[in-house]
Each structure stands twice: as structure tokens, then as C-alpha cells.
């Protein structure tokens, strides 16, 4: 299901040249990880290191969200004991990390990607399937 991000609204005046989709990396199972391979379409726009750094940070954040640690076990057991009613009032650990991820992506967009005519879409808006990178047509961008 297609959804717009508020940042995209700001960018709607600019024409979209292309979209690149970073697919999921399933080598470690079903945990949410994205491929760090640098797509060729972005070669002219951004540093390989910078992009890979962004994807790696996102991967780490998702790993933190899905980590099987004491916190998730306590949350799970507590939820079970309260017949799962606790999920109605409490924000889960995963949701907290998703908020962190949203903030990180917005920050990256503002600082690094927007000046280069790129836009990262939060993967949660694409069902955690892809990181969508929108490439805008270069108009009067200073690089």
C-alpha cells in the first residue's frame, strides 16, 4: 500500500527521476535486515561509504528491535500473565525502536540526502520490505 511521507510532500514540486529499492537480506533468517550493496543508480549522487553507513545503522536498529533479550522476555511474560491486555495500554519495545528509526531517517534525510536530491522512505511504510530511495531530477542543486 502506497503512503506518502510528509517529507515527500515538500518534494512534490521536484520531478522524480527514478526510484531505487534496497531489498531485504535474508541470509540470517527472517530478521529485518537490508542489503548493504550499493546500487549503481546512486553512484553519481552519494558516497558509497555514507550510504552503506546509513543502511548498516538501520540494520543495527532493526536488530535491536527484534533482539531476544531479557527485556523482550519480561515484556512477553508480563503480557501473557495479563491476558495480553497490557498491549492495549503500553507501547512495546519494538514500537519504541521504530520511533527511533523514524527519527534517524528524518535526520539523515535532512542532513545528507535532501541536499543531494535524494529521499529515503521509512521501510515501515513499505511493509518492511524495501528501503525506497527516490532520486529527484537535478535542477539547481549545489554539490
Amino acid at each position: 500500500m502506497a503512503e506518502t511521507h510528509s517529507l515527500q510532500d515538500m518534494r512534490q514540486q521536484a520531478a522524480i527521476a527514478a526510484k531505487v529499492f534496497i531489498q531485504r537480506d535474508y541470509t540470517n533468517g527472517t530478521v529485518c535486515q537490508f542489503q548493504t550493496k550499493f546500487p549503481s543508480e546512486l553512484e553519481t549522487r552519494i558516497d558509497k561509504q555514507q550510504f552503506e553507513e546509513t543502511v548498516r545503522t538501520l540494520n543495527n536498529l532493526y536488530a535491536e528491535a527484534e533482539k531476544l533479550g531479557s527485556q523482550s522476555y519480561i515484556e512477553g511474560c508480563l503480557a501473557c500473565l495479563t491476558a495480553y491486555t497490557i498491549f492495549l495500554c503500553m507501547e512495546t519495545h519494538y514500537e519504541k525502536v521504530l520511533k527511533k528509526i523514524a527519527k534517524y531517517i528524518q535526520e539523515q534525510n535532512d542532513k545528507i540526502y535532501a541536499p543531494r536530491g535524494l529521499l529515503l522512505t521509512d521501510p515501515i511504510e513499505r511493509g518492511l520490505r524495501v528501503i525506497e530511495v527516490t532520486i529527484f531530477e537535478e535542477r539547481s542543486l549545489t554539490r
Binding site: T4, G29, Y94
Partner: protein
Amino acid sequence: MKKCEYQQIDPRALTVSPSSAQNHTEKKVQRPRRKWEVFPGKNRFFCDGRIILARQSGVLPLTLGLIVVTCGLFFAFDCPFLVEHLTVFIPVIGAVLFVFVVFSLLRTSFTDPGILPRATPDEAADIEKQIDTSGSSTYRPPPRTKEILINQQVVKLKYCFTCKMFRPPRTSHCSLCDNCVERFDHHCPWVGNCVGKRNYRFFYSFIISLSFLTSFIFGCVITHITLRSQAGKSLVQAIQESPARYPFVHTLLSCLDSFSFTVVELVICFFSIWSILGLSGFHTYLVASNLTTNEDIKGSWSSKRGAEESGNPYTYNSILTNCCATLCGPMPPSLIDRRGFLPPDEAMSAASASEIELPPFAAKNDAHMEDNCQDLALSCTA
């Protein structure tokens, strides 16, 4: 003719991407619509998108009815006797179990099982571009699968034609709900919903607590009858004195041997307990080995598939870790964002989707594919 089964993406099946440089004609402003109103799967939504159910709710009312009626009879007719003769904790335990069962059942039925939203048209076009590298445009495209390595084991990912994406591992498309569901276990008619990643723990706690509840009620009923018959009366008289439990016995007492009818009823109860206990046992095995019903039935990881390549790549190789991961793991969020608002241009395009033939953006993305389609059309009609 531009109708092409495999390659052309029909935007009517998907919500239209708003990021295209498309100028929709300005129509009158509608009230902001929520995403659940344009959800493409076969689901029903209640409470403005808060509650999600499969379109066919199956026998959920029957399940609820059976549980409520059985517990009602238990509390009304067996509890007073047992409180008097045994302990006051009997109805307390019964009530706790009943509440747990009902909450788990409702949570299982009303929770999004882990539905994957369908691919946006841009995404689908990108995937098709990646598949279509051979350039053989005149032939029917081969079945789309992708092989990947998971924990050093080869797993095949299938392409879902409805959702226009490669299904992640352990995801399956439910034909009843017309959705791809993550970690798809099965579609349960008793619960009226699919059982998948997000509601498997609720389903498991439902069947476990239901096993305890039915065993508890069964035990209490047996105790009740035993105690009554021990108080000097015969078994038949004991049954005669508890009318609610055996209403048919009362009416048919003259023509039927009441004792045999009682035995039949007890046997039915006995078998239903075993079927629920059997299901609980089966799912306990699945949880301990980190499998889904779907995988177990298909035999995806059984040794008969051959060589040393088989073996579940998702297991943690420890029963405790598997159980903890499946039941107490972090609760993943719902990916379909039912209550989010549709952007105004999307809402309008979704409403007028039937009027639009093919938006020009499709031409922009699928330009080379339209040529292929035309070639196909020509070759078909030639």
C-alpha cells in the same frame, strides 16, 4: 490491446502511488478516508479499523457460544454443589480460566496476523525489471522463484502474483483472506482469522488455556456426579438431579436408557478434550522446533526431502530458545496501518479507480514492457 496477464501491472488492484508526477483532476473534497477502507484483501474491519477479521468469520460465533454456554452451565449448576462440598476456589479458578480463554480468543480473532501490504506499483515494476533480464518477450514468463541462502541452506522464495512481490521466507498467501501473511501457520475457521506471526502467541495461549478449562470442567463434572452418587444415591438418580447438565435425559427418560445417554455425553466431552489436547500438543511441538503448521504439512524441512540440505534453518537448536522466541519474542508491529489516513489524491484515485483506464504513469514506468505486451498481443492474435 494492452491487456497483458503477467507483465502489465493493473493499478486497479493496488492503491495508486502518489509520488508520480500525476495531475489528478480536482474533484470535490471528500472526507478524509482511512486506509482500511481501501484495503485490497478480503477482510472486514470494525471500530473504524481497530478490529480486523477475515471476511468469512467462520465458526467464531459458534466457538464463543460453546465456551460461554458450557461455562455458564458449569457456574450455574456445578459450582454451588462443589463450593459446598469441596472448596470455594473452584469457581475462582474457573472464572480466571474462562476470562483468559475469551481474551485470548478475541485477541487471536481481532489481531492482524502479520499481513504484508501489497507492493506499490513502483516496487512491482522494479521487481519485474529485475526478473525480465532474459528479454524473451514472446514466451510466457517462467514461474518466478528466487533462491537465497538462509543460514547456509537454500530456500526458494516464490513470487506472489496477487501481491506483486517475492514472498519473504515463511510467508504464505492465504486464499481465504487474499493476503500474504508472515510466518503463516494456518487459517483457523474456529477463530475466524489467519494465524500468523503476530497472533500465534495469542492462538497458542488460547488453545492451552482452553485445554486447561475443558479438563477442569470435565474433572469437576465427574467429581460432581461421583460425589452425588457417593451420597447414597444411584448414578441414574444423580443424573436425574442435575437437570441442566442433561436436559435431554429428562425429556427422554421414559424411552431411553438414561445411563447410556449419559455415557455418550461423557464420551463426547472426553473426545473433545482429547482433540483440543491433541492440538495443544501438536502446537507445543511446533513451538519447540520453531516450525509452522504450513511447513510441517508440506514437509519443507523433513529429512525425506533428501541429503544433508534439509533441516529447519530458522531453529535456534534449543527447545527453550525456540519457545521463548516464538512466544515471548518482541511483538512486531502491524504493517498495514489500518487507521492511517489516505492522502487526498490517493483517496480520490481509489474512489474513481473504475473510471480511469490506465494512468499515464504506467506508461512511463512500463514503456518497454508495453512494447513487449504489444508484441505478445500481436503474436497471440496472429
